[in-house]
C-alpha cells in the first residue's frame, strides 16, 4: 500500500470506469441491419482505454510513492483539503445552485446573484467590495443578457420571479 501513489489510484479509477462502460456496452441494442454494430466502436475505445490505463498503472507503481511538492503546505486533514480547494469548491457549488435555481430566478437574476456571490466569496465581504461586486455583477450580466436577448434574439430562461416579457 506504501507504494501506491496518486497516479496509481487514478489508473485504478480509469480501469473501473472502463469496466463500467464495457458492461454498459451490452445494453446497446443490436439491430438486424448495418455492418458495424453500434457497440463495436465504443468497445474498441474502451479496450484501448483499459490497455492504456494498465500501462499507466504499471508506470505509476514502478515510480513509487508520491513526493510532496515543496512549495505547497502538506494536506494533513479534511480541513486542510477544504482550505486548499476552497475557491474552486465555491465556484462549483455556486454554479450548481445557479443552475438549480434557473427555473425560479431565471438567467438574469440568477446570473447576477451568481456573479455577486462568487465575487464576494473569492474577494471578501467588506462594505466597499459589496458595492463594487454588486455593480460589476449587474453591469456585466445585465449587458450580456441584453446583448443575447435583444441583440441576438436568444430567449434566455426568464424564471418565475422576474419575467420582463410577461
Amino acid at each position: 500500500m506504501g507504494r501506491i501513489n496518486r497516479d496509481a489510484i487514478v489508473a485504478i479509477v480509469l480501469l473501473l470506469f472502463s469496466g463500467v462502460f464495457f458492461w454498459a456496452s451490452f445494453d446497446i441494442r443490436q439491430p438486424d441491419y448495418g455492418t458495424l454494430s453500434p457497440a463495436a466502436w465504443p468497445r474498441v475505445i474502451i479496450a484501448v482505454l483499459a490497455l492504456l490505463s494498465l500501462v499507466y498503472l504499471a508506470q505509476s507503481i514502478r515510480r513509487g510513492p508520491d513526493k510532496a511538492p515543496a512549495e505547497e503546505p502538506p494536506v494533513r486533514s479534511v480541513g486542510d483539503w477544504f482550505r486548499k480547494w476552497r475557491n474552486v469548491l465555491w465556484c462549483f457549488v455556486l454554479f450548481f445552485f445557479y443552475l438549480a435555481s434557473l427555473p425560479v430566478l431565471g438567467m438574469l437574476l440568477g446570473g447576477i446573484a451568481f456573479v455577486f456571490l462568487l465575487l464576494n466569496v473569492l474577494g471578501g465581504w467588506s462594505a466597499r467590495n459589496l458595492a463594487l461586486h454588486a455593480a460589476v455583477a449587474v453591469i456585466s450580466i445585465g449587458a450580456m443578457w441584453s446583448l443575447f436577448t435583444f441583440g441576438l434574439g436568444v430567449i434566455l430562461p426568464t424564471g418565475i420571479i422576474f419575467n420582463p416579457f410577461r
Partner: protein, 548 residues
C-alpha cells in the same frame, strides 16, 4: 474562378457590420492574448456563442479575428512585464523584455507588432496557396485513409501535448468515448445513456469544449486565494509609444529571419497538435543558429523578437490549411472553428473548398483583413491592456464564468447544456490537476464521430480489415502515427540509447513504401528521396557509432 470567388467573398466580408464585428474580435483577441492565464483558445471558445445567429461567413470572420488578435496579444505582456501572455509568446520574452528594460520598449513592441503582421500575411498567402492543393490530395482519401488520419492526429497531439504520452493518449481515448454517448450517428441506437433521456442527444460538444477548456482554466486561475485577489499584473504603468518606423527599418535588415520564421510557423501549424507554443521556440532556436552573433540572443537583440512573433502568427494559417483542406483540426482553436462550421451545417472535408468556395475564401480574406486590423488596433489596445491589468483576477474570472453560462445556454436553448458545462468544467479541472493534457481530449471529442463514421463506411464497403494496411494513404498515416507515438521516448532518450541513432533513418525508410505505392511521378520521386535520406542518416549513425 478564383477571382470570382474572391470577389464574392469580398461581398460577404466587406459589410459595415462584419468589419465592425471583426474589429471587435481583433480587439478582444489582443486583450485575451495579453492577459496571462487567459488563452487564445479560451477567447475563441467564448466567442462561439455570439456567432450562432450570424451568417456563417460573418461568424467565422469574427472568430478568425479573435484568433489573429489573440496570436498578437501575447507580445504586449511578454515585452512589458516579462510574463508571456500566452504560451505562443514565451520566446518573445527572452529578448523583448531585456530590450524593454534597456529603455527601448517602443522598439521592442514595434518589432513584435510588425513581425506578427508579416508572419500573418506570409501565412495567409501560404493558406490560400496550399489549402486548395492539399484539398485536392484529400479527395483521394477513402474511409480507411480518413480513419487512420484521425488516429494519426490524435496520436501526434498526445505525443506533443506533454511529458507523459500515456496521459495524452488516455485523454484522447476519453474524448472519443465521450463522443459515443447518445444515439449513434450511423443507425441511431442509444448508447451509454444509463436510462437518462437527456443523454440520448449526447453531450453538446461546444458545451463540452467550453467546460473542458474555459471553465476549467478559470477555476485554475482562482485556485490560489492570494493570487486570485492580486491584480493581473503589477508592472504595467509605463507609458509606451510603439516605434513603427524604426521597427520597420530593423525588420527590413532581417527579412530572411521573418520569412524563415513564418515558414516554420506555418508548417508547424499544418502538423496536428503542434501549435504556437512549439513554433515560437523552434523559430527562436533556428534564428539563433543562423545568426552571426548568437551570443547576443537573450540580451535584447531584434532577431530574438522577430523570430517568435513572426512564427506564432503564422501557425494558425498552417492549422487552417489542415482544417479547411482535410477537415482535421490542427489544434484546439481550429477544433473550435470546426465546431463553428458544424453549427452552421457546413462539414469541412476535402471537398469543402470546392463545395463552399465563397465561405472558404471568406475565411482566407478574414485572415488577411484581421492581420491588417491587428496592426492598427495594437497601439490603442496597449492602453486598454494597461487599464485591464489593474483588474483583479477573481473579478475577471467570476464575470467570465457568468458569461459562460449565458453563452452555453444560447447554443440550443437547452438547460442540459449548462449541466454539461458544469460537469465537464469539473472533469477538465481535475484532469489539469492530475497532469492530463486537455488538447487530445478535445480533439477526441471533435474527431470522434468523424472516426466512427469513416470506420462504419469502411465496414459497409468490406468487412476485411486489410485495406487499413494495404491502402497507401492509410498505411502512410499508420506508420507516422506509430513513429509519433515513440517520438516522446526518442526525445527523452536521444543521445543516451543506441536505438535513438536509427530513429530518423527508420522513419524516413518506413514512410517511403506507401509513397511508392501511390504511383504517379512526384510521389515515387519523393519516396526515392526519402530512401536516400534514410541511407544517409543510417550512414551517419553508423559513423558516430564507430567513432564512439
Amino acid at each position: 474562378m478564383i477571382i470570382e470567388n474572391v470577389m464574392l467573398a469580398f461581398g460577404e466580408i466587406l459589410t459595415l457590420k462584419t468589419l465592425l464585428l471583426m474589429m471587435t474580435g481583433v480587439a478582444a483577441g489582443l486583450l485575451a492574448g495579453a492577459i496571462p492565464g487567459f488563452t487564445i483558445a479560451m477567447a475563441v471558445v467564448l466567442t462561439l456563442p455570439f456567432t450562432f445567429n450570424m451568417p456563417p461567413s460573418q461568424g467565422l470572420a469574427t472568430m478568425v479575428s479573435v484568433l489573429v488578435g489573440g496570436l498578437s496579444g501575447g507580445l504586449m505582456a511578454g515585452i512589458l512585464t516579462g510574463i508571456p501572455g500566452t504560451p505562443s509568446s514565451v520566446a518573445t520574452t527572452f529578448d523583448g523584455f531585456p530590450m524593454a528594460r534597456k529603455g527601448r520598449p517602443g522598439l521592442a513592441l514595434g518589432l513584435g507588432v510588425w513581425s506578427s503582421f508579416f508572419g500573418g500575411i506570409i501565412s495567409a498567402i501560404l493558406l490560400m496557396t496550399f489549402a486548395p492543393q492539399l484539398a485536392r490530395i484529400g479527395l483521394e482519401f477513402n474511409p480507411w485513409d480518413y480513419f487512420m488520419l484521425v488516429m494519426f492526429a490524435l496520436t501526434i497531439t498526445a505525443s506533443l501535448a506533454g511529458a507523459n504520452m500515456i496521459k495524452g493518449l488516455i485523454a484522447g481515448a476519453l474524448g472519443l468515448l465521450v463522443r459515443t454517448i447518445g444515439e449513434d450517428e450511423a443507425i441511431g441506437m442509444a448508447r451509454f445513456n444509463f436510462g437518462n433521456d437527456a443523454l440520448l442527444q449526447g453531450f453538446n460538444f461546444i458545451a463540452v469544449l467550453i467546460g473542458l477548456f474555459a471553465f476549467s482554466q478559470l477555476l485554475s486561475d482562482v485556485r490560489d486565494p492570494k493570487l486570485a485577489r492580486k491584480s493581473l499584473m503589477e508592472r504595467t504603468s509605463m507609458q509606451v509609444r510603439i516605434e513603427h518606423l524604426q521597427a520597420l527599418r530593423e525588420i527590413a535588415k532581417r527579412w530572411t529571419n521573418v520569412i524563415r520564421s513564418a515558414f516554420i510557423g506555418t508548417f508547424t501549424g499544418i502538423l496536428p497538435g503542434a501549435g504556437g507554443s512549439v513554433a515560437n521556440i523552434l523559430a527562436y532556436d533556428q534564428a539563433k543558429k543562423a545568426s552571426k552573433n548568437p551570443e547576443e540572443f537573450g540580451t535584447g537583440t531584434p532577431d530574438g523578437i522577430i523570430a517568435p512573433e513572426s512564427s506564432n502568427n503564422a501557425v494558425e494559417g498552417g492549422a487552417l490549411i489542415t482544417m479547411m483542406a482535410l477537415g482535421i483540426p490542427g489544434d484546439v482553436t481550429t477544433a473550435v472553428m470546426l465546431g463553428a462550421l458544424l453549427i452552421h451545417d457546413v462539414v469541412p472535408s476535402p471537398s469543402f473548398i470546392s463545395d463552399e468556395p465563397v465561405l472558404a475564401y471568406s475565411i482566407f480574406l478574414a485572415f488577411f483583413l484581421a492581420t491588417f486590423m491587428m496592426l492598427f488596433l495594437q497601439s490603442f489596445m496597449l492602453r486598454v491592456f494597461i487599464l485591464v491589468t489593474r483588474v483583479r483576477m477573481y473579478v475577471l474570472a467570476g464575470v467570465i464564468l457568468g458569461f459562460c453560462g449565458i453563452g452555453v445556454f444560447a447554443i440550443n436553448n437547452v438547460e442540459f447544456d449548462l449541466w454539461t458545462l458544469l460537469w465537464f468544467g469539473i472533469i477538465g479541472f481535475v484532469m489539469r490537476q492530475l497532469g492530463f493534457p486537455l488538447a487530445p481530449m478535445i480533439l477526441g471529442v471533435v474527431l470522434g464521430n468523424i472516426a466512427e463514421l469513416n470506420l462504419s463506411r469502411a465496414m459497409a464497403i468490406t468487412t476485411d480489415l486489410s485495406p487499413f494496411v494495404t491502402r497507401p494513404w492509410s498505411l502512410f498515416f499508420l506508420i507516422i502515427a506509430v513513429f509519433s507515438a515513440f517520438f516522446p521516448y526518442y526525445q527523452e532518450q536521444r543521445g543516451k540509447k543506441t536505438w535513438t541513432r536509427y530513429y530518423p533513418a527508420a522513419l524516413a525508410a518506413c514512410a517511403a513504401p506507401p509513397l511508392f505505392m501511390m504511383g504517379g511521378l512526384v510521389r515515387p520521386v519523393l519516396a526515392a528521396a526519402l530512401l536516400s535520406l534514410a541511407a544517409y542518416l543510417l550512414y551517419q549513425a553508423l559513423q558516430k557509432r564507430s567513432a564512439a
